[in-house]
């Protein structure tokens, strides 16, 4: 605590030293989160969260925060790095990128480090979330796009320098976070320096059921980075970015190992031109390189003395994109290409200490695996009468190979081979929006997103990477998934009444990547506590359908509120269920129209706020009500999840021009609950609970 206070005082002191160079920058404390860009006339659901909305929020983890967006949920395996899920689509079915194109290949096979964990909330300028396979310019998108845009420096008329500092503290975890950024520059050269530190302990679940449980969920992360911009002439800019983010002793009670260390480095170079000619309105070129060194082990687990597992993975991604924007009268055209080259290599070393002897076994998880994807894309937008048309198409050539030596053949069935795979994928979307009355819009979007299997699905060897207790084996011959989706959306915007939207969607996914159990006579698991081995396979088809509703009051009033609700239903027409008796598979049966696993239940969030002191003081109360999830996968023995209701309260106070405070309490009634997508505690059937009641305070100084 003393250390925290010292850091806070230090940050404040540093901030005030810079006070002499104050400019007109002010803290904009937006009192209410408009979760959906209702005002945008795109034919699909696009949600943009601005920096002002992030400020003051209690965000220990970006993935955790994304779960506040309707129909966005997350897979929790520990205290941090919640892996986002949109409408039941997850992992590489989502195109999660940084700064409109930087990709980071997760080092951990268990996705301890999804892309969203490689950026901290304090460094984010805005978050863009697109649901469905409609936005194709950022890469192949099957279920949606999440674009995490970081803060960037910009030119100033004359030299200026500024600083932001943040200190946040949370009870329950005894967690603290500190962050500072210094930025400034002149007309030609501008810069941004950032650094942050997070140190969180283990959290306790709520005790509404009579007892609380402490989960081994502590983590420590720190990050730093720099951005340097240069404007050689008017309308031209170049920016060089370098960021590092490091994790230490990040515990994951729902995984067989914990993150010992994760070291991620990202470097990017951007070149941007606007108004090149009367037709060419923009040109954006980006190249990047990201590298992840990930080490995990079970040294924090009880079995470390007799069985030690250590996995070391090196993952890198190098690529770039170029996009040109053109406008001819009412016609806007964007064309471009992108490229990425993923490399992954890693091994697991198991050491068994039994009967006075030590046995060591080393096995590769990936062996110099490579995936390359080159894509061409185009977007077209136009207006005619009261209609707006959006069209996009994308062509990808995807190739993958690995230096694996594993060949798994039994009874003439080839389960795993070392053959490379190449795919030519075509994606497109077409949407129309019609203003049918003043402020009332109806949109129809049709899209087909095609996405090649990822590195894990193709080449992983025997790691428990699923939600169930099985080791998973990759399948180099997987085919790409194709999502054929239709979205129908009704939007209404009125200055006095507010805004609402109603969306319904249906997805028919072909060659969906699922998994099937493999006999132990073919392959044995390698992870302690798992029941067997599953291999990724293409399922002929699955379906997703759902609805989403949102309403927000008009912004002109002192008071306001919102209500959002979302529901997704996922099913698989035909699936094999394996009958397990006494821990052994004794038979199988075919099920019709079984539920897909890991589909979030119906939920709704209602919020109210009031702006006091001309908006300087804004208290807000919100209730989140989540229904039972009883539509669960019978084939996967997925348990049902009980519903719950939470109440949160927060207040944001802009004390003076430079200082703001946000405080609040989450899970006010200390409810013991877990989300349906939370993973099980490894080796048990019990789920990882969410934190109980948490009081928090964030102090933000900006000069």
């Amino acid at each position: 605590m003393k250390k925290s206070l010292f850091i806070l005082v230090g940050l404040l002191g540093f901030s005030f030293v810079l006070k002499a160079q104050i400019t007109q920058d002010t803290i904009k404390l937006t009192p209410f989160e408009v979760r959906d860009s209702i005002l945008k006339k795109v034919p699909y659901l696009e949600c943009k969260i601005l920096k002002e909305q992030l400020d003051g929020e209690d965000i220990r983890d970006v993935g955790d925060y994304l779960r506040t967006i309707p129909n966005v949920s997350g897979v929790r395996k520990g205290g941090v790095s919640v892996d986002p899920v949109i409408r039941g689509f997850k992992f590489s079915q989502l195109n999660v990128i940084l700064d409109g194109g930087v990709r980071v290949e997760n080092g951990c096979p268990n996705r301890m480090d999804p892309v969203s964990s490689h950026v901290e909330a304090e460094d984010i300028e805005n978050i863009e979330v697109v649901k469905g396979p409609f936005m194709l310019k950022y890469g192949p998108a099957l279920g949606g796009v999440i674009n995490l845009v970081s803060k960037k420096p910009h030119p100033y008329e004359k030299f200026e320098i500024h600083a932001d500092a943040l200190y946040g503290f949370e009870t329950n975890w005894n967690g603290q976070r500190e962050h500072i950024s210094v930025y400034g520059g002149n007309k030609k050269i501008y810069f941004l320096l950032t650094g942050g530190y997070r140190d969180y302990g283990n959290y306790q679940s709520g005790n509404s059921d009579g007892h609380d449980t402490t989960f081994n969920s502590s983590f420590r992360k720190y990050n730093y980075g720099a951005k340097l911009g240069y404007s050689p002439k008017k309308n031209h800019s170049i920016m060089l970015s370098y960021n590092e983010i490091h994790g230490r002793d990040v515990l994951y009670p729902a995984l067989p190992m914990d993150e010992k260390s994760d070291d991620t480095r990202m470097i990017a170079l951007d070149y941007n031109v606007v108004d090149l000619s009367s037709i060419i309105k923009s040109l954006d070129v980006k190249i990047y390189y990201s590298d992840v060194d990930h080490v995990m082990d079970n040294s924090h687990r009880a079995g470390w003395d007799s069985k030690q597992m250590v996995s070391v993975v090196d993952a890198s991604n190098i690529g770039g994109r170029a996009e040109m924007g053109m406008q001819i009268k009412k016609h806007k055209i964007f064309v471009g290409l992108d490229y990425e080259n993923i490399y992954k290599d890693g091994a697991r070393t198991m050491t068994m200490l039994m009967m006075g002897t030590t046995t060591v076994k080393k096995a590769n998880l990936w062996k110099e695996a490579k995936t390359q994807n080159i894509g061409l894309f185009a977007e077209y937008k136009t207006l005619f009468s009261s209609w707006e048309l959006d069209a996009a198409l994308r062509l990808d050539y995807n190739t993958a190979n690995s230096e694996d030596t594993l060949k798994l053949i039994k009874n003439e069935v080839e389960y795993f081979n070392d053959l490379p795979s190449n795919y030519l994928n075509f994606s497109f979307s077409l949407g129309i929006t019609k203003e049918i009355a003043s402020g009332l819009y109806v949109s129809l979007a049709l899209g087909r997103g095609t996405c090649s299997p990822n590195m894990l699905e193709r080449f992983i060897k025997l790691m428990s990477v699923g939600y169930d207790n099985f080791d998973y084996l990759g399948n180099p011959q997987l085919k790409p998934e194709k999502n054929n989706e239709a979205d129908l959306t009704l939007k209404y915007v009125n200055d006095k009444i507010g805004s609402f939207y109603l969306n319904g969607f249906y997805s028919y996914v072909q060659d969906y990547i699922g998994a099937v159990m493999l006999p132990s006579s073919v392959i044995m698991p390698q992870t302690a506590g798992v029941l067997g081995v599953k291999q990724f396979i293409n399922v002929k088809s699955v379906g997703f359908t759902g609805v989403e509703f949102g309403y927000t009051t008009a912004e002109k009033y002192k008071w306001g509120g919102s209500i959002v609700a979302a529901y997704t239903y996922g099913y698989i027409p035909t699936v094999t269920k394996y009958i397990v008796t006494g821990g052994s598979v004794t038979g199988d049966t075919v099920l019709k129209n079984d539920a897909l696993s890991e589909i979030p239940p119906l939920e709704t969030t209602v919020s109210f706020f009031y702006k006091f002191l001309k908006g300087k003081l804004v208290p807000k109360i919100s209730a989140r009500i989540v229904a039972d999830q009883r539509h669960v996968s019978e084939a996967s023995y997925e348990p049902y999840t009980p519903g719950f209701a939470l109440l949160n309260f927060s207040v944001k106070y802009n004390i003076v021009k430079y200082v703001s405070v946000a405080a609040g309490v989450n899970n006010m009634f200390d409810r013991a609950y877990y989300e349906h997508l939370n993973r099980k505690i490894i080796g048990t059937t019990g789920k990882l609970y969410e934190p109980g009641r948490v009081f928090y305070i964030n102090v933000n100084v900006k000069i």
């Binding site: 198991m350 002897t357 506590g529 798992v530």
Partner: protein, 270 residues
């Protein structure tokens, strides 16, 4: 010309009719299957094992008791009366048996077994060399059967732990363990002296194991381990002679292996 056309048409029509008839393939009779379940029973001198109790006397005159018994059988093969065989490996080909774990005293086989009459059952006691891979098991209880790499690796075929009264009437522990044996230079029992390994798994033919498989029915077959047989035929095994542990004693394991041929019998088939 017209008549030629008609003639040709008639020819092709007839050919087509006969051709079609000739090409009709007799549908293959649908294969019918049943299931099989093995129940494992452990007897001493013809009676169910009463473990942790020193009430038994072996052929060498040792008073003894059995406290723990775990073993693997693998590659179980059903021999059909028509000469065909059915290897049980559809889901698993190695089965672990443990007298302390009720779930491990039966095995409901995943494989579909073709209906018919089967003359006999055979299996490998232990695990064959090709399949006995070090660290292939990661979970208990099987993982606890690990055989040290330095002694040959893989897994124990059997662990029978118990006690016997030595010649001075002192109760001693015995670990009647079977696995990969070692050959030592100059018979010096030191791991540095190992120059070769010996695979001690062996094949078992279950006597009187005729049974039938009926469609959609499960045939339950009792496999009995007669524990006392490990110690008597063809060689009398004396705990006082071989001592407590035999993992590094290939002659003792060889004797156990030789005695193993009649350890298993068939019990109730229902």
């Amino acid at each position: 010309m017209k008549s030629k056309f008609l003639l040709l048409s008639a020819f092709f029509a007839l050919y087509g009719l006969y051709g079609c008839k000739d090409k009709q393939i007799e549908p293959e009779p649908a294969k019918e299957y049943g299931k099989v379940k093995f129940n494992f029973t452990h007897l001493v001198d013809g009676l169910p094992l009463d473990k942790d109790t020193m009430i038994y006397t072996n052929a060498a005159g040792n008073n003894y008791e059995v406290d723990q018994l775990m073993y693997f059988i693998s590659d179980v093969t059903l021999h059909n009366s028509d000469g065909s065989t059915k290897l049980i490996d559809g889901w698993k080909d190695i089965n672990y048996v443990d007298i302390d774990l009720p779930a491990k005293l039966s095995w409901s086989v995943y494989d579909d077994i073709p209906v018919g009459t089967y003359n006999s059952i055979s299996f490998t006691f232990g695990i064959s060399e090709a399949k006995n891979i070090t660290m292939m098991y990661v979970n208990p209880p099987e993982v606890n059967m690990m055989w040290p790499s330095i002694l040959g690796g893989g897994y124990h075929y059997m662990m029978m732990n118990g006690k016997w009264k030595d010649t001075a009437n002192v109760i001693q522990n015995f670990a009647f363990h079977l696995g990969i044996g070692q050959l030592y230079h100059s018979n010096v029992i030191n791991t540095d002296s190992i120059y070769a390994f010996v695979q001690n798994y062996f094949n078992v033919e279950l006597p009187n194991s005729t049974f039938t498989i009926e469609k959609d029915k499960t045939r339950q077959i009792e496999i009995i381990m007669n524990i006392d047989s490990w110690f008597k035929t063809p060689y009398v095994y004396d705990h006082n002679y071989w001592g407590s542990g035999i993992m590094q004693n290939q002659p003792a394991m060889q004797m156990a292996k030789d005695n193993g041929f009649d350890v298993f019998t068939t019990g109730l088939i229902q």
